[in-house]
Amino acid sequence: MSILSERVRRSLTREFSQSLMAKIGLALVVLMVTMALFAPFIAPHNPTQQGLEESNLPPAGVTQTSSDIQFVDGERQTVETTTTGTLDHPMGTDSLGRDLFSRVLFGARTSLMVGLFGTLFAVGTGVSVGLVAGYYGGRIDDGLMRFADIMLAFPALVLAIALVGLLGPLTIRIPDPFVALGLVEGMPDSFVFPVTLTIVVGVVNWVWFARIARGEALSIRQQEYVKAARSLGASDRRILRQHVLPNSLTPIIVLATIQVAAIILLESSLSFLGFSGTTLSWGFDIAQGRDYLGTSWWISSIPGLAIVLAVIGINLLGDWLRDALDPGIEGEHGGGM
């Protein structure tokens, strides 16, 4: 089945070839997906392996001088130690001696999985609710939309914090196929997928999709061809799927792309607060590094940069889709005079 028409595809490729930003966005996203997918192959160390003698090592090439107070023969002494990072830990290590580069790679998995599945959940819920509300109208519509209003009265992050914090972090362990097949060794044998977190980030974002789908359904319900289809005996389900859904696809795709970015930010915030249930996450690492800002700046900085680059990439893709699918929004191609 081809979702995208020939015209849409042409517009996408044209916009892409003209936009440097779209190319950068795609490159960043491809990089992130590659990192997440092949993390066990790329990572130099097991991201959860601790080594206290290797704690707080600076990134490769960075020299760090730290002064420690030690008791030598019962006497207080200030000992200056100078460490220079090596390529063994290209991005340094955290306070427990875990390799940051490996953690960044595996952290991409958490962000990407939560971003994708959370968005899918939001799209699924939102679009179904919105289509039903808009298509049937009346009381169903009123009830569902009032409920949406109530949901909107809570800021997404506040609601998410409350839900995740209160429901508790349920996680499932998904076996890593590469490890299971014996392709790599010394890597974690499973991936911790934060279930509660994923559902909650979906729940707090479904309303936007519901609104779009409802609007489309409302307007399309009145169209002649839908009335005709109905008079020919087409079932509601069939009309919704065949006529209403395809028409609302463009705004949903654009919104979903941007929502992946928003959800990754949300995930990192919740992980930062320690509500996610997984310890392999960029947000979690940033929280870990907070206590070492004075001595080991890299622990908080590097995972944060990873978040920023990933989200920039997805936002750029979103801009590209929006410009290509709906040229009216930016006014880029507006009248020349």
Binding site: I150, F154, A162, G165, F272, V308, V311, I312, E330
Partner: protein
Amino acid sequence: MSTYQFLIRRGLQGLLVIWGVITVVFLLRFMTPGSPVDFVAPLDASPELRAQIARNLGLDQPIYVQYAQYLGSLLQGDMGFSYIRGRPASGIIFLRLPATIELAVAATVVAIIFSIPLGVISATRRHEPADYAATGFSLVGISTPNFWLGIMLILLVSVGLGILPTSRRPIGLVPAMEMLIFQFETVGIQTWIRHMILPAITLGTYFTAMIVRLTRSGMLDQLGQPYVKAARAKGLPETLVTYKHALRNTMIPIITVLGLQLGTLIGGAVITEFVFNWPGLGTLIIDAINVRDWPIIQGALIVIGVGFVVINIVVDALYARLNPRVSLE
């Protein structure tokens, strides 16, 4: 429809939403695993003691009775007693509220002061360095998690340069102003400002970046409209063409978006407070969630929800006032 009628109708709708908010918040407790008693009672409490505690907290009643009691006491401004601190939840919450409002307002002011001129410059100097700088800033701004931005600011400004404090702020705006007015002492307000700068930037950056984007695309759209050409043709100064004509029409839709995005701002405030150990509602909620202090959780969520509903009504009224085409339907 007159403005009053509009406000009344919108207010009634708002009341309905607020009632829904309260109900959802109330039900939240029954949807989450574990009983509040687990958190309140000592670990080795006897079943009798546990039952006693449950009775004291009113948890032995059927759910609808509890609901009615909760609604009834809310109407009297009573949000129950904090399980942990034993004091009225409403008192604790309203003591924390000013800090959050100060932070949110400061961030909004920062955002509006910087974003609108940036957005306008970006649109009027399209494809010039200023435009690239503004769009680059806004892209990074909307892509940066604010808790990380806050930590980086602490790292650079406080740890690195040693300029601004990171400790919990010792003074709120009201006492600082009282000090200024009654004792002619500026140290209070200075301290307040010094503690406010980093959190306000942290919270305001995302907002700034977003408004820059909205303003830029809105201005580009408006500047291409025939009425702009007509305004230029009649010899109007470019300042007025840009600000009086195009920006005015740009701001009308932006205001609606801003109203909706205030939720993001409030959410961001929660986590910004956490980073800066800010004595506001955000830290209160996070602490309360960790110990399941239900009266505080519920009360704070309701205050946030109600505040958000009220802000949105104000935004709607403002929108209707600015846009002559909307006759407050």
